[in-house]
Symmetry: C2
Subunit: 293 residues, 2 copies
Amino acid sequence: MMNMDNEKTQASAWFGQLRDDICTRFEDLEMALKTGPHADLPPAKFERKLTKRDADGDGGGGEMSVMKGRVFEKVGVNISTVFGTLGEAAQRSMSARTGMEGIADDPRFWASGISLVAHMQSPKVPAVHMNTRMFWTPHGWWFGGGSDLNPMVEVDEDTAFFHGVQKEACDRHDPSYYPRYKQWADTYFMNRHRGEPRGVGGIFYDDHCTQDWAADFAFTQDVGQAFLDAFPPLVEKHMEEPWSETDRDWQLIKRGRYAEFNLVWDRGTRFGLETGHNPEAVLMSLPPIATWP
Amino acid sequence: MMNMDNEKTQASAWFGQLRDDICTRFEDLEMALKTGPHADLPPAKFERKLTKRDADGDGGGGEMSVMKGRVFEKVGVNISTVFGTLGEAAQRSMSARTGMEGIADDPRFWASGISLVAHMQSPKVPAVHMNTRMFWTPHGWWFGGGSDLNPMVEVDEDTAFFHGVQKEACDRHDPSYYPRYKQWADTYFMNRHRGEPRGVGGIFYDDHCTQDWAADFAFTQDVGQAFLDAFPPLVEKHMEEPWSETDRDWQLIKRGRYAEFNLVWDRGTRFGLETGHNPEAVLMSLPPIATWP
């Protein structure tokens, strides 16, 4: 297996570009708010902070972009590029999952990606998650990612719109991708201990490798772009609707369940916590305030 | 290995008795509040609810006692007695941990215990956790439990008092117990992803079996009693102290970290979620409100 230095550089650069595009679009939404309980607050801007991965003999790091505003109560957009050697537990789970051989003999890895979670001020605006990443080991590489919508109360039209944009992006590459990756999202974004989905789904994929790196990278780029096409219109549609205290109470309960999913089940969160990545960056996804009444 | 029906009955009955004693004492504390921002609210009482464990072919259940009051913002005291067969993941982890043989051939288990978490209105009053339990399989039995104090800001005198009461209870049984089980608590109650203890410790033990069931049960009873001797005096001492918004903000942050510990690291919580116990009962430990600002 080659080192793929050129591919790694391209992927990392693109995750940074997507981050820039998303931050610009989200700051525009912050500016656009005209009415509602928070309209008299000043629009916020993203603040950026470098993060360093601190693990024995390993390296890398990333950049957190955080905005706490009047439309976005808390949104984090992290990019990171990390490398090193997998610990024994990670080696075992990766061998079991991918079937790749030789991981224990050469447990090096490299991973780069973007990860985003937005918790909104208004209970009428869905929360959202998106991430895409490239993972490399000497034994194989793959892409992973996805995006899922987390409304407080489901609105069929929004769900259909969000899924439609994901489907269009997937279909440009392979008609089997959307059905497969929608199904995976339905299975994955599930609070299994409650038998309850965390939201209305989207797409989720991992171990995506057709052996054609350029095609798989192009697919992952389209998934990132689809997020920009799917989520901001829903924010614009709902951000000025009135809401009640009851709506807000329910939003905080749903956020508690979101926190449960991320801490108990989310593979990326657990990988980050177990491999010594900066906890503030890994846990940026947690809601600004949540309740378990 | 015998079925130990008599021992199981004694242990279950005692966990129920301890629950009653704790609830009475906590209701007295609710009544005792005279000054402070919540003194004009009515004192709360515990409400009890049966819980049923719902897993294929397995059974048992328990009782949740919850009080949401003016001293205790949210306190849950759960007792449960569950039995069935361990799933494959639980079989593997139990074999690895205890070294017991034959678990896969006869994976039956029975477990009974009490579990308590209190989140307090006042940031000046520590949060607290206590649990004790008896676990039985055809291949061996043991007790586990412990108690740890979670103040928002450490007060040396309180820490010394809490630990002193635990030590006294342990020393009555074996002078090696306190040093060993205090150390275990220090290691266990650690948010490893932050390199930060969740509180000021206490004692933690598991797989406790000297082969003398009566002695081990008496030890576990004393650990339960020590909780009643150690925690309520700290509530009385601090519950009427004034506090500031800054104190409260910090309390909500500490509660977020408490939630992280329980969802990411706590063995009992993960066992409960993975074996299909009632999620409301397992997650009763989560704080009524928490922040990740």
